[in-house]
């Protein structure tokens, strides 16, 4: 297969959008937390928990959207743990985040074993099916890529627009951004930094969990232990790459996913015979590090990111 053929094929772009979808949810979730001033390293564990919670809920009989809701609530509950420790108590966001990832992952695996003690391979569910949008999906290349996806992918794109609108156009979004820039300014205007930051962490964590649930409810139809596989950490890099802006973060996620889809196809070409497959699998992580390095110069980082706010401090 020629490289140009890959880039011009509708299936390639459809795959890219599909791969991007969970990243979009989780990146937007992380972005909300960071805009409010909290680095949420619980993201990896929250995605694992969300993937499992959504899937097990559907397996137990809930409709698919019910599974999404369960994932969201699971993420918010875990986000609450992070928020309590990192916001009012102001504990190290690094330690709390890594600890939460360990906790969420362990809880997930434990619950899996308790609910399904003796299974050798996890049961499958009826996942989200592609829902082509009439007319739009008939556009060549773009149509099948963008408009023949599952409803959860459409939801991801709508979410980006919604979050951008809330952040930049509403009083609530202004308060969230201000909490990440200058918590003292927020407090002086009679708003509670604690409530705003905790709320942002909880909502953001909810979206991370939905990102995880995309894997079990839309991309695949079952749950595996190594499913999330560092996607959370990649999303943290994507937030930096997107300069903490929803639109740029979306663009970054799609670019990243396109690269990922490209390397999968490249493996099947002549290049794949020469290079070991591990090199291709490393690409997403190496790319994330490169994105961090390139973007490190253009610091648009929220001024109060990782800075706890303690009213009593003078």
């Amino acid at each position: 297969m020629d490289i140009l053929d890959i880039l011009l094929s509708a299936s390639f772009w459809a795959a890219a959008i599909r791969i991007a979808s969970p990243l979009i949810f989780a990146t937007i979730g992380e972005l909300i937390c960071e805009r409010a001033g909290v680095l949420n390293l619980g993201i990896e564990g929250i995605m694992v928990a969300g993937a499992f919670a959504g899937w097990i809920a559907v397996w137990a009989g809930l409709p698919l959207w019910g599974g999404v809701a369960v994932a969201m609530l699971t993420g918010m509950a875990l986000g609450f743990v992070h928020a309590v420790l990192s916001v009012p108590f102001g504990l190290s966001q690094h330690v709390v985040g890594v600890g939460l990832t360990l906790l969420a992952t362990a809880l997930t695996f434990y619950t899996y074993r308790v609910v399904l003690p003796e299974v050798s391979s996890p049961p499958k569910i009826e996942a989200f099916q592609a829902l082509p949008i009439p007319l739009l999906s008939d556009i060549p290349i773009l149509g099948p890529a963008l408009f023949a996806q599952t409803p959860l992918t459409y939801a991801a794109f709508i979410l980006v627009a919604l979050v951008a609108w809330v952040l930049y156009r509403t009083p609530l979004g202004l308060a969230v951004r201000a909490a990440g820039e200058s918590p003292a300014a927020v407090a002086a205007q009679g708003l509670s930094v604690t409530v705003i930051r905790m709320g942002a962490v909880m909502v953001g964590s909810g979206f991370m969990a939905v990102g995880g649930a995309f894997l079990t409810l839309s991309a695949f139809d079952s749950f595996f232990f190594e499913m999330v596989n560092g996607r959370g950490w990649i999303c943290i890099a994507l937030v930096v790459f997107g300069a903490w802006k929803p639109g740029k973060a979306l663009l970054g996620a799609v670019l990243f996913a396109a690269f990922d889809a490209f390397q999968i196809r490249l493996q099947q070409t002549g290049v794949g015979q020469v290079l070991p497959y591990q090199v291709f699998l490393m690409m997403p992580y190496i790319l994330s590090i490169l994105a961090l390095v390139i973007m490190s110069r253009r610091a648009e980082v929220p001024a109060a990111l990782m800075v706890p706010f303690n009213k009593g401090e003078r």
């Binding site: 509403t170 009083p171 308060a175 951004r177 201000a178 820039e181 003292a184 205007q189 708003l191 001024a303």
Partner: protein, 504 residues
């Protein structure tokens, strides 16, 4: 305005008590504020002024007592309720988000959080109207981070006015302004009072208090010690009330300078624009200016944190090649940093570990091993010589008062017998006893032949101690003026940037 209006009480503080651990920050403080009245809240650093205003504004909850605004009790610990009742506060350290625009900062929180739109157009129009009415010129679409300190203060006042404040609290509002800007601010405030606002204004500058206030409330050690109408008191009486005794401000003689020990010639660096300066032996050189005009950069340069990008720098006759904090210390420069908590000390280190921060490598370690016995003995000697009040050298320094912390820093840098001393805001936040102690030590160093650079935002301090005074504005340095040759107003003009072009 009739006498009846004058008498209407808009704010009543009753019996406010607030304790922090064993410290009583406010002890049963009560006073009233009438409509259209200006009260000055006077007191030394640490007298409890800011705590009292934070209680009034709902950022702290009082342990006892109540706050009434326009006859209604404010629920404690709720800034929102204070704002809604018409109390606005301009904090000493501005509470603004630098990456947001002026209008975003002003409207933050003013519309609740449930709205679907910020209505930016209407917000901007209202801000423009307010700025016009109160002569508070500022561009609503500018990023706050790009504004000057004076402009930022205007934004702070606009924030309060935007929310229809009836009572305005200003915490040390002139600390960051030139004398001219301070006058302009007083003009604005007088207009606001004429429009029916009432003011509480916190200060320790007596001339401002006498100029603006109707009534003065004096706090000392958390207690209200006196209430005076401005017409019935004098600066001398207020000063005595504030400190609790007759104040003796020591006089410092002027001295002729010796040879220059540190020279800058046309030095450029980030924040510095062609600075030429001689620090001469046996002299205190004062550096005045509004904060953020390059004093920090000059201080960083002399400290060794930054290097000149162009121009010449000579220390004790030797040109500077490589430059770092360690080489600066090695060349005999003593540095008293601006922020003793953030840069001067390490809060969770004990006194010994803090005392040897600059000299550990040369004096207290051998072959990579620390000599803690010597370090401890050295620290004990410093504690005795510099009168640091503390339980012992093993105390974590965060438990010390600001004055004692500063004494340890003084000891750390002066004990080596430095020839050049950089003192950046050495008395900020200290009580009068500690202030006099620091000044006396600097004066002694001058008598011992050291060249001292004193950076301060307090023009009175500069004019009292310095032999030569320079002014900084936008990274440029004025020529040196001998003490007494320029009035505060003339220096203020330099601070505002006038005069530099004529020199250049």
């Amino acid at each position: 305005m009739t006498a009846k209006d004058q008498a209407e009480v808009v704010l009543r503080l009753s019996n406010i008590t607030k304790r922090f651990g064993s410290l009583t920050a406010n002890d049963a403080v009560s006073f009233d504020l009438a409509r259209g009245e200006v009260i000055a809240l006077l007191g030394e650093n640490g007298a409890g002024k800011t705590t009292l205003m934070n209680i009034l504004f709902g950022q702290y909850t009082a342990d006892e007592g109540s706050v009434e605004v326009l006859g209604r009790a404010l629920p404690p610990g709720n800034p929102r309720a204070a704002l809604d009742a018409g109390v606005g506060m301009v904090h000493q350290h501005f509470t603004l988000a630098g990456n947001l625009t002026v209008w975003e900062n002003i409207v933050l929180g003013a519309q609740g959080l449930g709205g679907l739109s910020l209505r930016a157009g209407a917000v901007r129009a209202r801000i423009r109207a307010l700025s016009e009415r109160f002569h508070l010129r500022v561009d609503p679409d500018a990023k706050v981070g790009k504004l000057t300190v004076g402009e930022r203060q205007r934004v702070e006042i606009l924030k309060a006015l935007y929310r229809d404040a009836r009572i305005l609290i200003l915490d040390e509002p002139t600390a960051v302004l030139t004398p001219q800007e301070a006058d302009a601010l007083f003009g604005t405030l007088r207009e606001a009072v004429a429009a029916g606002l009432s003011l509480v204004f916190i200060s320790h500058k007596l001339h401002e208090v006498m100029a603006l206030a109707d009534r003065v409330v004096v706090l000392r050690h958390g207690k209200l010690v006196a209430e005076r109408a401005v017409t019935d008191t004098s600066r001398e009486e207020l000063a005595a009330l504030m400190v609790g005794a007759e104040v003796t401000t020591p006089e410092f003689q002027m001295h002729a300078g010796g040879a220059p020990l540190l020279s800058l010639h046309a030095v450029h660096a980030p924040g510095l624009n062609g600075v030429t300066l001689d620090l001469c032996a046996g002299q205190i050189t004062g550096l005045a200016g509004v904060s953020g005009n390059g004093q920090g950069a000059l201080s960083d340069l002399i400290s060794g944190l930054i290097s000149p990008t162009s121009g010449e720098m000579t220390v004790t006759g030797q040109p500077v090649q490589t430059w770092s904090p360690r080489t600066a210390i090695g060349r005999g420069i003593a540095r008293i940093p601006e922020d003793r908590h953030k840069t001067g000390t390490i809060a969770d280190f004990d006194l010994t570990e803090n005392a040897i921060l600059e000299t550990y490598a040369t004096e207290f370690s051998r072959g990579g091993w620390m000599d803690w016995g010597r370090a401890r003995a050295h620290t004990e000697a410093l504690i005795a010589t510099y009168d640091v009040r503390c339980p012992g050298p093993d105390t974590r320094i965060r438990l010390l008062s600001g004055g004692n912390m500063q004494k340890l820093i003084l000891g750390r840098v002066l004990e080596t017998g430095p020839m050049i001393i950089l003192a950046n805001q050495p008395v900020r936040g200290l009580d009068i006893g500690a202030v006099n102690y620091v000044h006396r030590r600097l004066d002694e160093a001058r008598l011992g032949g050291a060249a001292v650079l004193l950076i301060s935002e307090d023009l009175d301090e500069i004019m009292r101690l310095s032999d030569v005074i320079h002014v900084m504005s936008e990274g440029r340095l004025s020529p040196g003026f001998a003490r007494g040759t320029k009035t505060p107003a003339e220096l203020g003009q330099w601070m505002a940037g006038d005069g530099f072009d004529a020199v250049a």
